[in-house]
Amino acid sequence: MSLLELKNVSKIYGPLKALDNVSLTVENGEWLAIMGPSGSGKSTMMNIIGCMDKPSLGEVILDGVDISKESSKKLTEIRRDKIGLIFQQFHLVNYLTAVENVMVSQYYHSMPDEKEALEALERVGLKDRAKHLPSQLSGGEQQRVCIARALINHPEIVLADEPTGNLDEANENIVIDLFRQLHREGTTLIVVTHDPEVAEVAQRTVVLEHGRPVKEIINESFEE
């Protein structure tokens, strides 16, 4: 069974169809990129997969559960247990240190554990910056804290919304390397981006336009 399945999903805001009858399947361990210009419905799709929004029509089956019909309380639980989020604007709590930001995620999930949180930061190469506040970190470092936070609870899916949108070339490469590593460890990765370079490194890329998937590219040269 697929990990995630979207069946005829539409999202309608008044006269605007942000998503128009989209069907998509994501297998366990897959690295998928969703690409498209702004306004193509990428973010809406990301919000629906991330359990932060519900579709107007259609079904979304995540790990065997139809999340399109769940209450928002239940959605919060699913998000907490199964999904790791990475944002373009990082969204770190600005008065908490790097390690504390990671621990916040643990706190809502189960038990905060500083040692584990430090290990997660070590994995993204930020062990020595653990006690710094977000304002003392560079953009790339902040995004790496964000990745550590997304991974700490071992989610089924890591959802990244324009993870490199605010980063320079060097940091972009660091983030992509981290994604590769995650993929090798078997994490399912969904990356929403408009940057072809970021999309290229994924296993499969779905291109959205006007709320509809218009193209699907399989990366032939993808190396496991």
């Binding site: 932060m52 309380k73 709590v93 908490l96 240190t97 504390e100 995620s105 706190y107 809502y108």
Partner: protein, 389 residues
């Protein structure tokens, strides 16, 4: 356990690392709490402090002989002792006798001058209060009639048997008289009947008349409400032989009227100021919390339930409210003390009960004003909150 620790860590981090904003919030709460505890202390203290000021109207209770006779020093003392010492501002016994000055009939009053100065603080004395034996205070009217000035000598004569009723009688009968010379220490100005009298000390009067331990009445100035005074008066009249205590209605009734208005004024002012201040505190807290909508969205996106977010913000509010409340209790007391010293020249008691009350109210106001914006932020989808702005 670990979870609790993280909870505290997040709250303290929020309070300590967001210093400028938290100071803004704390300041607002502390100001609110200061006003609360300060005004409530003043309100609570006004009847007592103002009541003391109203004692400048003079005696509000008098002791009279109940059987039409005379009062003995003992029975007066006994009656006086029934009044709590703390409440007794002044006590002055009076004895009136008819005397003559150069055959001119006059009235002399004997009293304890220290007591009289306290029971009748409105008396104005030109010159000085008599300080001992042989000194007299002369009413302004009498002083004018007799052309007496401060420093003059005057001889008071007392008929030991009976003051003659007519000039003829005075000239013809054998009179058994006693005279004493007095030094005029001061001229008394009151605008009332007292201006007609000579005032001398009790010892002098006893020497002049040869009769000791008898009084006509006593004036008392007591800091107490009208009802309390009534209870005292009934108690004294019932339990002290020969003494009948009566209220000076003009003073007690009027004080009751004016004081109750003043108290109502301070109460209303307190209520309105508090109401407005609390709303001010609430709006400031709301502004401070509204600023953190994004954070609420993020926490939700990370999988926090609405409940746990509300609990976290409430925790912060509680801590802020508590600290602000404590600060306010202290500053409020300092303010109330300053008011009391400036207005009434007396200090006030610290009211310990006000600390928990102030803290609880601050916590409640802070908590409620946090709840509103947090609620509205948690009700929105995290995606929208994160996107916004």
């Amino acid at each position: 356990m670990k979870k609790k620790k993280m909870f505290l860590r997040m709250i303290t981090a929020s309070l300590l690392r967001r210093r400028s904003r938290m100071l803004v919030a704390l300041l607002a709460i502390a100001v609110g709490a200061t006003i609360l505890s300060g005004l409530v202390t003043i309100y609570d203290d006004v009847p007592r402090q103002m009541g003391e000021q109203f004692r400048s109207y003079g005696a509000n209770m008098i002791f009279m002989p109940s059987n039409g006779g005379e009062l003995s020093g003992d029975s007066l003392q006994q009656a006086k002792n029934r009044i709590a010492e703390k409440q007794l501002v002044g006590y002055a016994p009076y004895r009136y006798e008819n005397i003559t000055v150069n055959e001119r009939p006059m009235m002399a009053a004997a009293t304890d001058f220290d007591g009289a100065a306290k029971t009748s603080p409105y008396w104005r004395v030109d010159g000085a209060w008599p300080s001992g034996v042989g000194e007299a205070l002369v009413g302004k009217e009498t002083a004018q009639t007799l052309a007496l000035n401060v420093g003059d000598e005057v001889t008071l004569t007392y008929d030991l048997d009976k003051t003659p009723a007519t000039a003829d009688e005075a000239a013809n009968t054998e009179r058994n008289q006693n005279s004493a010379a007095f030094h005029v220490a001061g001229i008394l100005d009151t605008g009332g009947n007292e201006e007609k009298y000579f005032f001398i000390s009790i010892e002098d009067m006893e020497a002049l008349t040869g009769k000791a331990d008898c009084f006509d009445m006593a004036e008392l100035s007591v800091t107490a409400s009208q009802n309390e005074l009534k209870t005292y008066a009934d108690d004294i009249s019932q339990h002290t032989d020969g003494v009948s205590a009566r209220l000076v209605k003009r003073v007690t009734q009027s004080e009751n009227t004016v004081l109750s208005k003043l108290q109502a004024l301070v109460l209303l002012v307190t209520v309105i100021v508090l109401l407005l201040t609390m709303i001010c505190v609430a709006t400031t807290m709301m502004a401070v919390v509204t600023e953190r909508r994004k954070e609420v969205g993020l926490r939700k996106a990370l999988g926090a339930s609405n409940k746990s977010i509300i609990v976290e913000f409430m925790g912060e509010g509680l801590l802020l409210g508590g600290i602000g409340g404590l600060l306010g209790s202290v500053f409020g007391f300092i303010f109330a003390q300053a008011v009391s010293m400036n207005v009434f020249n007396s200090s006030i008691q610290f009211r310990w009960l006000l600390i928990p009350v102030t803290v609880v109210v601050s916590v409640l106001v802070t908590g409620l004003s946090c709840l509103l914006p947090v609620r509205s932020a948690t009700d929105v989808d995290p995606a929208l909150v994160l996107k916004g702005e």
